[in-house]
Amino acid sequence: MAVILLLLSVVAFIIIQLPPGDYVSAYIAELETMKGERMEEAEIIALRKAYGVDQPIYIQYFKWIRKLLRGDFGISLQWQRPVIDLIAERLPLTVMICALATVFTYAMGVPIGIYSAIRQYSAGDYFFTVVGFIGLAAPNFLLALILMFLFYKYLGLSVGGLFSTQYMNVPWSVGKFIDMVKHLPIPVIVIGTPGAAALIRTMRGCLLDELHKQYVITARAKGVAERTLLFKYPIRVAINPIVSTIGWTLPWLVSGGTITEIVLSLPTTGPLLFQALLKQDMELAGSIIMFLSFLTVIGTFISDILLALLDPRIRYERST
């Protein structure tokens, strides 16, 4: 855990340092264009010293880390506000959407997978197989575009965003919350669909494997009720590999979520990251990526612990 977090910070630092030139030069250039006058040489040197750009890279890194630990993520050049405030505003919404998308993925994937396996080769099975394949093959943003297009063309609705205009810049209230709930389904469906599609296929495959095993036949021969039989044995076995990969879905969701959020222009971290990258506002971009990855790592960690609690056979012992 700790090592991964440390590595994450290194990656974020590399991203911040990636664009040619350092951010002080960018800052100076911006100040000059804003004020329309040249800066004094002494001033520039003072600025460079203040930001520590003249020091070797590893010292800059340690300084940056020390600032991070104190909760200082630098200032966004584009917004002229502390990075941490910007992220704090938007991150909760991202987390909420990702959490809802996870719930959607499993709520859709597992039951449909079970249905497809039990009624193999039925019309419903074929229908969900086709839907599943398309969900798997269509990139998130395309799905978002197509949904937006359909809604606009046939319902005359302009979807996108998370709030209606009248609630855009007002503090939270019951009305705003209801408004948000109305806007939520589309992003959640778009982000959750590819995962759900993959899940349907895995669940169907695993369950089909189990259904042909002898213990199912034995149970059936003994006269166990079909429903009890299904839910008591094969489904519990088949669901195991799915539970054990919960941790993997999270990076996927965050990744797909970012691009969906940009297309739907939600007030979350995705568009913020995009804007920051376009404007080369690397302090902000690096921090967002670090936070996103950080949350993913924590989510994965939690799911691992849950898994160990659920399935007593899994033990994290050091094997030799």
């Binding site: 991964i4 269509a138 990139p139 990076p251 691009i259 990251l273 376009l278 990855s293 993913t296 994965t300």
Partner: protein
């Protein structure tokens, strides 16, 4: 009697068939995979010879036909059936109030389609100058997929885009293959601390959400770079994450095979380590590698498309499916001109067919089952 003889012959053939022959036999049974493979071959041929198959030049603008809808290829005219297909001409109307351009088919104008017509000049692969196109009209215009906001033919642009989108993924996968094989091989064969370190790195890379990382890396590519440089830059960025899955497969298989009896036998017979790896281990898991590669191509295509769609990947004047989809960013534009979504259809078909092909290969990879 005769029948039985043939049956035995077939059975014997099964026993003497090599591993690859068995795989091919099993693969042929997977209908979807065969279909997928065929479609992919067609796509790759279209992409490779896109100058020849396209009807027009990539940048040619028809200012009289901005956002023109796709023209349908027809066989039936008022007088009846025509063996030679043709398209109707387009007539433009300007709505006086909304100032919107609409196009209607002009049934008086008929442009027959010919094979191997002389059209815009081009150089195939920048080497062979010619002006022969696979098909086209001799007079008038033909826009099979409509035109974009600059009046450029989207059919031709889609073919040119296919070349870039399809080749990015292939080169990216080739890079991942090299990285994955080397690192996975080292990890699996030597084990111990090296293995530990490489596995941790892989776990770490898998933890990072890919699209934000790709976005940040490709945003850092200098704006002044030429399209070719950007193209290779994007490929490298895509393969930074791509090799992890492959390295895991290689390592897993190596660990499994290392304990097999035939490796022990080879060791006792005095074979060198290199010989064991190349002659005995590699053929045993090459099929699994191919499967894993096939299934990792779709991710690359989706990654490239997403990046280019956001304007962070391949940049105009180069075209890829993602670049073409940029035109469809605005819902209102799409609602008026739905044919702008056609590149998305290509992406979906390609990804689907790669998945089908991968499924078929996976079944075939273990022919003894």
């Amino acid at each position: 009697m005769k029948k039985e003889k043939r049956k035995i012959g077939a059975e014997e053939k099964f026993y003497v068939a090599t591993q690859w022959q068995l795989m091919w036999r099993k693969f042929k049974k997977h209908k979807l995979a065969i279909l997928g493979g065929t479609i992919l071959v067609i796509f790759y041929v279209l992409g490779t010879f896109c100058e020849f198959f396209s009807t027009q030049d990539l940048y040619k603008q028809h200012l009289g036909y901005i956002h023109a809808p796709p023209q349908r290829i027809r066989f039936f005219h008022e007088e009846g059936f025509h063996l030679r297909p043709f398209v109707y001409g387009l007539k433009r109307r300007l709505d006086p109030r909304t100032l919107r351009r609409t196009y209607v088919e002009d049934k008086t104008k008929k442009y027959p389609i010919y094979f191997f017509v002389h059209g815009d000049k081009y150089k195939l692969w920048n080497l062979f100058p010619t002006d022969v196109h696979f098909f086209g009209v001799k007079e008038g215009t033909m826009f099979l997929f409509g035109t974009d906001k600059l009046g450029r033919d989207l059919f031709s642009r889609n073919l040119y885009a296919a070349r870039i989108s399809l080749s990015v993924s292939l080169i990216g996968v080739a890079l991942s293959f090299v990285l994955g094989c080397i690192l996975g091989g080292i990890s699996g064969y030597f084990g111990g601390r090296v293995d530990m370190a490489i596995q941790r790195v892989i776990e770490f890379l898998i933890c990072i959400p890919t699209i934000p990382l790709w976005m940040a890396l490709s945003a850092a590519l200098p704006k002044k770079w030429s399209p070719i440089k950007v193209y290779f830059g994007i490929t490298i960025i895509l393969s930074i994450v791509g090799w992890c899955g492959l390295a895991r497969v290689v390592r897993g298989k190596l660990l499994e095979l290392r304990e097999e009896d035939f490796v022990m036998a080879a060791k006792i017979a005095g074979a060198s380590e290199l010989r064991i790896i190349v002659n005995h281990l590699l053929p045993s898991f090459l099929s699994y590698l191919i499967v894993s590669l096939t299934l990792s191509i779709p991710n690359m295509i989706l990654g490239e498309t997403s990046l280019s769609f956001l304007g962070l990947g391949i940049r105009a004047p180069a075209v890829s499916w993602g670049v073409l989809l940029q035109n469809a960013q605005n819902v209102r534009t799409v609602a008026l001109h739905p044919w702008l979504l056609i590149p998305g259809l290509f992406v979906i078909i390609t990804v689907l067919t790669f998945n089908f092909l991968g499924d078929g290969l996976r079944d075939a990879a273990d022919p003894y089952k």
